[in-house]
């Protein structure tokens, strides 16, 4: 395997990781502030993608589609927070898992009822399609580079929001001591709705960004949801830094595992069984990584006990 291919695969891993970060950031924020496990986060990702596909279909504008994905996911996020989720904050994780599992069923079938059983069309805009030549002769997709860029911007923005603004201060205060912040007169329920809608909007944005190069279909959120959970558990639940680090670690592990393991097995076994076994191991790799991390650091890499 050439060096150029290896660098390209590292970029691919990075891009996959950044995309996971957009999902994981909302998930970890919601858990960190409200202590809620939200399985329906993948449904908000799907809502974002469908909203983007619908708006892109009507208007032909990719930017409007992205705006629609943010708005629709945030709106649905706020809606379920107000009707269902806020009743779950005081419950144990078990009730949260089940209630949000029920929300997945409702969201998936309601989407299918609205948009039909066939995948929708959403494409990258002309001004972002094609490839660019990177230094060293690497030809790389412009759209994927853009995703890396957007992800990093979001990471910085979230970091600034939490460490520098008044809202962020309240979020941090809320994480540390819920009663205290209530006593200080901050209307905590509005804060919670805002945080939930923010997390939902990030999921929706990532659904729209990814939907343009993947398939916009019912059920698209579930595999990503599981990966996002793997990410935040590895990074330490509640930590944005952990989510970023975990996402990139998972992205790189998965991408490099997929490409390198079959090659590695090929050095000592017959080619076709090396491909099969290498690919089988690669599909299990991130779960092995996660189990490994938790065995040595039971609260993730950046988690507090």
């Amino acid at each position: 395997m050439s060096v150029i291919l290896l660098i390209e695969q590292v970029l691919n891993g990075l891009q996959f990781g950044v995309m996971l970060f957009l999902m994981a950031a909302g998930l970890t924020l919601i858990f960190g502030v409200m202590g809620l496990i939200n399985l329906a986060h993948g449904s908000l990702y799907m809502v974002g993608a469908f909203a983007a596909a619908a708006v892109a279909g009507w208007t032909g504008s990719f930017l409007l589609a992205l705006a629609a994905s943010l708005a629709a996911a945030a709106a649905f996020g706020a809606l379920i927070e107000l009707t269902v989720i806020r009743r779950l904050y005081a419950r144990d994780h078990l009730d949260q898992v089940l209630a949000t599992f029920a929300l997945i069923l409702i969201f998936s079938e309601a989407t299918r009822w609205t948009f039909g059983s066939f995948p929708l069309f959403l494409d990258t805009p002309d001004w972002l399609s094609g490839t660019v030549m990177l230094p060293g002769g690497i030809e790389y997709s412009l759209y994927r580079l853009t995703i890396i860029g957007i992800g990093l911007v979001v990471a910085v923005a979230l970091f600034l929001l939490i460490s520098k603004t008044r809202v962020g201060m309240r979020i941090r205060a809320g994480e540390n001591d819920r009663e205290m912040i209530g006593a200080l007169g901050v209307d905590i329920s509005i804060l919670y709705t805002l945080v939930f809608a923010l997390g939902a909007a990030l999921a929706g944005l990532s659904g729209a960004l990814v939907g343009a190069i993947q398939s916009v279909e019912v059920g698209m959120g579930e595999p990503v949801l599981i990966l996002a959970f793997v990410v935040i558990v590895i990074g330490g639940i509640g930590s944005i830094k952990g989510a970023l680090f975990g996402a990139i670690l998972v992205g790189l592990t998965d991408t490099l595992g997929r490409t390198l393991l079959p090659v590695l097995f090929g050095t000592f076994m017959e080619a076709s069984s090396a491909t099969t076994i290498g690919s089988a191991l690669a599909s299990m790799l991130i779960y092995i990584l996660m189990a490994g991390v938790l065995v040595f650091r039971p609260t993730g890499l950046f988690g507090s006990a």
Partner: protein, 391 residues
């Protein structure tokens, strides 16, 4: 008569079908129906599009035959879960007392249901899945496949690759039995070298790593089998990568239902199929027209298979009583119906012997669709037939 339940399930949802269910049971008790058919297919979740198409194609033929045909159809949703499919098959056989089962889309569900159903003396007609286990050693006199053996379309793609002069193909498929069979099927016919052979994760949606490997290889063509959403993702990302090697694959990623979601990225791609809407025969013309009129969309490969399956059953019912298993089996095997794909006959293992075409993705007005450009394989029979003990 046609079961009210089936009609209701098609047209209306909600409380109406509960009522219809009791009416359907009443009709069965009356004993007027010549045959009762259980249709188990996927109607919820990500793969529902295929099941809906098979059901709509099937019911179109049944409705066209009218009440005189004396067929009653019970439709149930398997949710793409093998254990649910088995449960429904038990229900259809033990409780609904159907004579014929059909409808399953996925090979793994078919493998769960078919052996048990035929062992209990029921007929099973597959409108889609054709796993090798049921075509070779595990073939059964009561199991008929009206679509294809799973390898067929991949073999045709391999044959086309030879004809197109490809010498160095890069091939990829998901790492599960149907994916492994797809690559085997392609290699069986393809005579050139392999630039690479990859298995991806089932359900994978990001193919950047695989596309980078294709770019780095010295391949002159790409063959892939990635059904459903996986194929949409791959094609869009492949088009975005700027690689311009020719792509060939089986029809599953270029079907009418998903082509619109792939868009421009699929234009010009060659794919193999036993059916297309431009096949020139009267049955096909009528089918495409009536399907569009009834459901407001172009029929897909799956709809055509559902339609053919229903017409095969109707043709056999016209000749023999379904309760007389030997006569009915013989009538099925004659395949005396106007298939929308043109010539159709069964081999010794009750799998089709048929032509497989090469299609190209084109744009007609605003709609992406396929047109036939060549015949990939003529009167093709699957290789597993020789392992089947049936005559």
């Amino acid at each position: 008569m046609i079961s009210t339940k089936a009609k209701q399930t098609l047209k209306a949802f909600g409380a109406a079908s509960v009522l219809a269910l009791s009416m359907a049971t009443g009709a069965a008790a009356g004993g007027h129906a010549k045959a009762k058919i259980g249709l188990i297919t996927t109607l919820t979740g990500g793969g529902a599009g295929l099941g809906v198409d098979v059901r709509d194609g099937f019911m179109l033929a049944i409705n066209q035959a009218g009440d005189g045909a004396g067929v009653e159809v019970v439709i149930e949703d398997d949710q793409r879960k093998p254990d649910v499919a088995v449960k429904l098959a038990d229900e259809m056989i033990q409780s609904e007392k159907v004579d014929i089962l059909t409808g399953i889309i996925w090979s793994n569900l078919a493998l769960a249901v078919v052996p048990g159903a035929v062992a209990q003396g029921k007929f099973y007609l597959s409108p889609n899945a054709g796993p090798f286990q049921l075509a070779g050693k595990g073939c059964h006199e009561n199991y008929f496949n009206v679509a294809w053996q799973n390898d067929n379309l991949h073999e045709a793609a391999g044959a086309y690759a030879n004809e197109a002069g490809y010498k160095n193909s890069f091939i990829l498929a998901p790492n599960y039995p149907a994916g492994q069979d797809a690559l085997k099927g392609y290699k069986r016919m393809y005579g050139g070298d392999l630039a690479g052979e990859l298995y991806t994760k089932l359900g994978q949606t990001d193919y950047a790593a695989e596309i980078a490997q294709i770019r780095a290889s010295d391949a002159d063509s790409v063959f892939f089998f990635l059904p459903g959403g996986m194929g949409i993702s791959f094609l869009k990302q492949y088009a975005d990568s700027g690689i311009d090697l020719p792509v060939v694959g089986p029809a599953f990623s270029f079907d009418q239902g998903i082509l619109q979601a792939v868009g421009e990225a699929a234009l010009g791609v060659k794919n193999t199929s036993q059916w297309n809407k431009d096949i020139d025969n009267a049955a096909n013309k009528a089918f495409v027209e009536t399907f569009q009129a009834e459901y407001g969309r172009l029929p897909s490969l799956y709809a055509s298979q559902g339609f053919d399956t229903a017409n095969l059953i109707l043709s056999a019912l016209a000749k023999a009583d379904v309760k007389d298993a030997d006569a009915f089996r013989a009538a099925l095997k004659e395949a005396d119906f106007d298939s929308v794909r043109g010539d159709f006959k069964f081999g010794n293992n009750n799998h089709p012997i048929q032509d497989i075409y090469v299609r190209e993705v084109i744009k007609e007005g605003d709609v992406f669709t396929n047109k036939i450009i060549a015949t990939g394989l003529t009167d093709h029979q699957d290789v597993h037939a020789k392992d089947c003990a049936l005559q």
